[in-house]
Amino acid sequence: MRTKIGRSLVVLAVLSVAMLIAPAAVSYPTGVNGVAQTGCNCHGAVANSDVAPSISGLPDQYNYSEEYEIVVSFTGGPANAANSNQGGFNLWVSDGELAPIDATAQAYGANEASHTEAGNDQTSWTLTWTAPSGDRNVEFILHVNSVNGNEDGNNGGSSGDLWNKLSAKVSPPILVLEEADPFVVLSTLIVVSAVLLIITLTYVFYRTNPESFTWEHFAPWISEWLTSTDHKKIGTLYFVAGMFFLGVGGIMAMMIRIQLAVPGNDFLTQDQYNQFFTLHGTTMIFLAAMPLINGFANWMVPLQIGAPDLALPRINAMSFWLQPVAALLIFTGVFSGSGADTGWTGYAPYVVSETAHLGTTMWVAGQIMLVASSTLTGINFLTTIAVMRAPGMGWLQMPLFTWSILIANLMLFLSIPAFGVGLIQVYLDRVIGTAFYDVSAGGDPLLWSHLFWYFGHPEVYVVIVPAFGVISEVIATSARRSIFGYRSMVYAMAGIGVVSFIVYGHHMFTSGMSPTLRFVTMLTTMLVAVPTGIKIFNWLKTMHGGSLVYRTHTLWTLGFLVTFTLGGISGMFFPSIAMDLHLHESYFVVAHFHYVLVGGTVFGFYAAIYYWWPKMTGRMMDERLGVIHFLTGFISYNALFWPMHRLGVWGMARRHHTYFVTTEEAMGALPMEAAGWNMFVSVSAFLFFFSNFFLIANMIKTVIRGEKAPADPWGGWSFEWMTASPPPTPSFDPHNLPELKDANEHIANEPGTLGKLFNRLMMSEDEEVAH
């Protein structure tokens, strides 16, 4: 039994390693270092030290824009004057300009030079190199072939030939620091984070039982996690994955902010910038926000409705495990330096064009898996909530978090097939060459926008609505009274859910779609403010007359109310078509959706972490660290995103890798202050990023030696607080389910209009017995 597990672990490890290596090794020949370093058409497989290449004429330090004559040569190897061909070279330079002097050499662009046909019978070649006009560390890379000129020599036959490589460095007049390749930085940070995560998890294992820190105990422990179908374990897995990718997405955001800190920066090239913001968006939405939501949903929904587990536990495990594999596919591009560069929206026709990076195919493939995962999650939660509520718990007795998960999954579940079909069309376009989005064949790029946003708009509500649920739970518990206007809360969420399918066209006002549809979506979008306003009003009214207890989760909730309302107000500018045409693709949009996604979803889930951590781990969190986290996070967050509104109104374009400021009053020019504000935003971004380390520290600290949590530390009254902290498995005994008793039993059990309709349609009680 144990050896079986061991064997399977080895197989899995080998497979994962193969998955990691394969893309870098074969799929993308450019590799992390780019084309330059491997650009040699070398004769033979490995370099040979008999061949000695050299570059002469290079200074140690160059002068700006000066022209240097350099001689590239080699000695040794089979080359000798009697051969018909003697050798060849390839010289690559990171900066400046290469130019040939005579007919023996030729340049490919400014950065690369090689020998010509005529230069084939030489062993040395002369070139000029014009130094760059700025301060750069310049690197030269030279490959040479020493050719024996045998029979097939002219036609590329290379048997018996040898080659070698040389690199040289030239410094600028003023010494500058070595520039880092952003991809190397990112990959390193991802790997470091992953290693830290593994170390932390191993440490957790060690702490659970220090004496038994052996492989014999570790194997069943890890295989339990890999195979578990328990909703709490899968919830934890989701949570860990979500937090990890929140970090990865954050690292990418920081690199974007480094790039944008000063005007005209070139830390990221255009190409790299495209990939960074694409992967930042994809990671944050699909790999951070959704898993975090699913983590809490997995944990809390069965506990809140009094179910022993989800309806389909193994399907639940399936929906989790699709995600890390999908993440690997999405990130293959990053590890090879040619990730998706299409934006998280992946607009056609660029997404199916050959100019979009190869990594885009893998990005699409990963997304297809995420679609499958979300569909399975949807089936599971909809079924669970519909059929497994404990006796006495009608629809309108469910806790609001469960309601929010129900609405979110309903939206996600019904909209994501459109995205899935669109992705499959793109995948097939890119792989087998169908023509769904090929404009030259009559394909309609707008179709992709429609399919994407039919899913995409419900999707942004999918990530915010669960936060509404969390806030409702926290505010009711903290104010020590039941939520104000429970029914209106439920109807408001359901209203948002239905309307979200009609409003999606507001993302496409500038795309040239049908004017009638534009009008319809404009009106319905404005309608969304109504249910959202009802919710905000209800939260405020819940606090009014309550007696608020200021714990960390309460603070985050209050923070949510402020930031989400601000985000909602800036959102009301966009439904108006005329206003939208002006603000489209500007930082105003960036500010708006970060205000609702970070200030809404992330703050909501920070509140959830502090609120449910005692339930999930059985340990209380450190309140002092929590308050520090809230204060630093809330202030730096506002300093980070508030100025973006202003930048957007000034006309700073989103998705552009850099910007320029000017004193002139020209169209489209940013004023000088924009540079200062951008620096301010970048500094705040780093502060916000690092403020989250308080949370991580808090988590690690409390798991190891936190105070033991009671079953109900906050005085909550929904079912999850009736279980022990942490809850047993199965969460409730399936043969002895809890029963919800309502003080107003008569009112609670009186069916409404819908209830009466359902009662007519439902199986009658006696039939159930006879079944």
Binding site: T361, V387, R389, A418, P734
Partner: protein, 369 residues
């Protein structure tokens, strides 16, 4: 019932259903990895329709094999399911219905959205791009340069009885298979027959369903790629051709950017069938001598893509059904279905009827219209 504490179910082996859920499983992890490997490597074999690297074919097959291993683990755990553990819904509105039946219906909702998306794509292109027939008749083309137009597959398929044959037989095959699966359900749940007879009947009906599903895909391959030789005496009814031409042979392909068909050749149309419509713009232009006629060339990549992908998605669902039916037929042949767990056949049956329903729409709108 707190035997959960000492119950450590294997992630591989048959599940002990007496303990209910949850039980551990390696299957989700394995299947996920398999799907990832498959999607990754398929993109290595082809790129924009061009064959790139044969070495990835092996990896794709390995991916499929991994998925299959995962599936086997899944089935192995389910194999012992005898109906002893079948949770039922509580509360409004599904009270008393099996939980998994509700789950299948919820799943079908998402399937409806999948096919609606495909149909929306089809409608957008069908109504948005002018059809090849009307472009041809309008005379707005010249011989030798390609025009973009929509060529419905139905135009080819419905043009002759022989072309229609595979699709028509398939329609009957699916409807019969829908019938056989409910028969299997009926006999599995029938209380007043003895065990051996039940086993035989259920196996026979599930086996027939399996066979019909395989027939469906076979005929689809014939229709798409293989074609079919006709016996001698039928040649004269098939315009003298000796085979039923496949869509591939007709040139109806996703990369057909210069599709040439005899229907869009003025000479062929003049010598066969009704000839050119005398009121059409093309006829008038040719009479005036402003159009020289000849062969129209068309870029029909979009129409072919919609046709192959929509019917292909349906075909993939049939393939999924075949895979499920293989397991079920095996289980039935070992007497695995009894009145206690007959409802398992109903779960699959709902999916299978849904696939049939989709065909009821796909067939007229992609094959006939």
């Amino acid at each position: 019932m707190s035997s959960y504490d000492d119950h450590h179910p294997s992630g591989w082996g048959p599940h002990d259903w007496g303990h209910g859920a949850p039980h551990n499983s390696w299957s989700p992890l394995i299947m996920s990895i398999g799907i990832g490997v498959f999607l990754f490597s398929v993109a290595g074999v082809y790129e924009w329709g061009e064959f790139i690297d044969a070495s990835y074919i092996g990896v794709s097959i390995a991916g499929l094999a991994i998925i299959f291993i995962g599936l086997t683990v899944w089935w192995r755990q389910d194999y012992t399911f005898d109906g002893g553990y079948e949770p039922r819904s509580m509360g409004t509105p599904f009270r008393g219905i099996e939980v998994r039946k509700v789950a299948v219906w919820v799943f079908l909702m998402s399937e409806m959205m999948v096919f609606t998306s495909l149909f929306s794509t089809y409608m957008r292109y069908r109504f948005g791009i002018e059809s090849c027939e009307s472009v041809f008749m309008s005379g707005e083309w010249v011989e030798g340069s390609s025009v973009t137009c929509f060529e419905p597959a139905g135009h080819l398929i419905a043009s002759s009885w022989f072309h229609l044959a595979p699709g028509a037989i398939n329609t009957f095959a699916l409807i019969i298979s829908s019938f056989t699966i409910v028969q299997a359900l009926r006999y599995a749940g029938m209380l007043d027959i003895d065990e051996d007879r039940r086993r035989k009947l259920v196996t026979r009906y599930l086996g027939t369903t399996w066979f019909l599903a395989v027939l469906f895909l076979t005929l689809k391959m014939i229709e798409w790629f293989l074609g079919f030789p006709l016996p001698e005496f039928l040649h004269e009814y098939n315009h003298g051709d000796s085979t039923i031409k496949s869509l591939y042979a007709e040139g109806y392909l996703i990369n057909a950017d210069s599709y040439q068909h005899k229907y869009y050749n003025t000479d062929y149309v003049a010598s066969h069938g009704h000839g050119l419509d005398h009121e059409s713009a093309l006829y008038l232009m040719m009479e005036e001598g402003t159009h020289s006629g000849g062969q129209m060339m068309a870029n029909i990549r979009v129409s072919a893509s919609t046709f192959y992908v929509t019917t292909g998605t349906h075909g993939a669902h049939v393939l999924g059904g075949i895979i499920g039916l293989t397991y079920m037929t095996y289980k039935a042949s070992r007497g695995g279905y009894t009145p206690d767990n007959a409802v398992s056949i109903e779960y699959f049956g709902l999916y299978w009827h849904f696939v049939d329903l989709v065909w009821v729409i796909v067939f007229p709108f992609f094959y006939l219209y």
